[in-house]
């Protein structure tokens, strides 16, 4: 019984350090496509709404919802809007001076509108990792800057007598602000 009580106190002590937060960030999404030895890059702003839980000097889990408008012509003459959902696990460190560098790894999925004969949208999944730096402005706000890399695998595209598998590489430098509560 005493062991159980001890474990319970230990478990609750973790929550004492943990905080929830929500945040916004703006990213520059530069995506490199390679298909049949041809390459094309697309650069678009991306807007992210995120919610996380954890200790920024330890582990944090974050779910984020992103929006971007490709406005490119990789898949069709007019590639459209994309919505993405990512889950990321961060490990942070306290450097002092209110600075908290971190590394993160995660997965994501999403869908983009296209104007193709056979597809009106394309889904994709991604493996993400990156890192950044948080500057804690005060007990409530922190400023966030970082860089993410995403390896994105797109839905197989049918060409009737052929199929095309597309992967792309993304670099997302970003800045944002988080509100802790």
């Amino acid at each position: 019984m005493r062991v159980l009580l001890l474990l319970s106190f230990l478990y609750l002590s973790l929550f004492a350090e943990a905080m929830s937060y929500i945040g916004l960030s703006i990213e520059d999404s530069t995506e490199f496509f390679v298909i049949n030895s041809e390459t094309q890059d697309a650069s678009s702003p991306q807007y992210k709404l995120k919610a996380g839980y954890g200790d920024i000097a330890g582990y944090t889990v974050e779910a984020s919802f992103s929006y971007m408008d490709y406005a490119t012509n990789v898949f069709s003459d007019n590639d459209g809007k994309a919505l993405m959902l990512d889950i990321t696990l961060y490990k942070g460190w306290d450097l002092g001076y209110d600075l908290y560098p971190y590394l993160g790894v995660g997965i994501g999925m999403g869908e983009m509108d296209v104007e193709r004969e056979l597809e009106s949208s394309l889904s994709f999944s991604s493996f993400n990792f990156g890192g950044g730096l948080r500057y804690v402005i005060n007990h409530t706000y922190d400023f966030d800057i970082g860089l993410n890399y995403k390896l994105r695998t797109w839905q197989t595209i049918s060409l009737v007598a052929d199929k095309i598998n597309v992967t792309s590489h993304l670099l997302n430098p970003y800045i944002g602000i988080n509100v802790h509560f």
Binding site: I26, D28, F33, I35, E38, Q40, D41, A42, S43, S44, P45, A71, T72, N73, V74, F75, S76, D77, Y97, L99, R116, E117, L118, Y135, I137, F143, I145, I157, S158, L159, V160, A161, D162, I164, V166, P173, I175
Partner: protein, 237 residues
Amino acid sequence: MKTFHNILLSSSIFALILGCQSSDDKPPLVPEVEAIQIIGYDTTTSLYALTDTSEDTNGASRTAKLLASIIYSDGRSATTANELDWESNNSRIVAVSNGLCTALANHGSAKISASYRETLYTKSDESKVITIIPLTDVNISEKNSVLTINYDKNGTGRVDINDSGPYELSTNGHFEDNLSITDISSNIIWSSSNTTIATVSSSGTLNVALDKNATVIIKTSIFNEVNATLELNITAP
């Protein structure tokens, strides 16, 4: 505080960079499917009025195998048949599956088209017309020359039989385009006017019961059209 100001300055520069978006006038990197065109034959293709789609011993093809060329926006093309949904506008005349056309009647024609996912279709002027070459005459013979079959001017064969057999019957087909195909027995449906006395198997084996003198009419048909008649004059021993 100085650090914070530096970060804000960096953020401003970053936001400025975000405002400069790349634009690209190149065609899409992933090609688009532009058209489905049926290929492999001329606009009109003929098909012999036979049910057996195997190759004939004379080398004449009994089938019409259609293929489609998929035209892409980058100028390339690829050929396929099985990926498409094929359709005959007269499915009582010509059936089509995976591009393979088979005759279902002795006369007529049908327009064949192809589509993909009910989204891409062949243009109507690029459909193919499959025309059946009618079977005009069937000649029944006996393979081992045991029987002598005599034909009258109407094409009806007559033969005298005084042995129970079996006899191996064969059928040669003559088509409207003057092509003759040897042994079309696998396409033939045999019938007997009196199956208690004379029967013919699907492979053309004739067996006769010599219980009494009788006349039995053997007929062959394809697509429900009778195309040969053989009169058996059976003499009991």
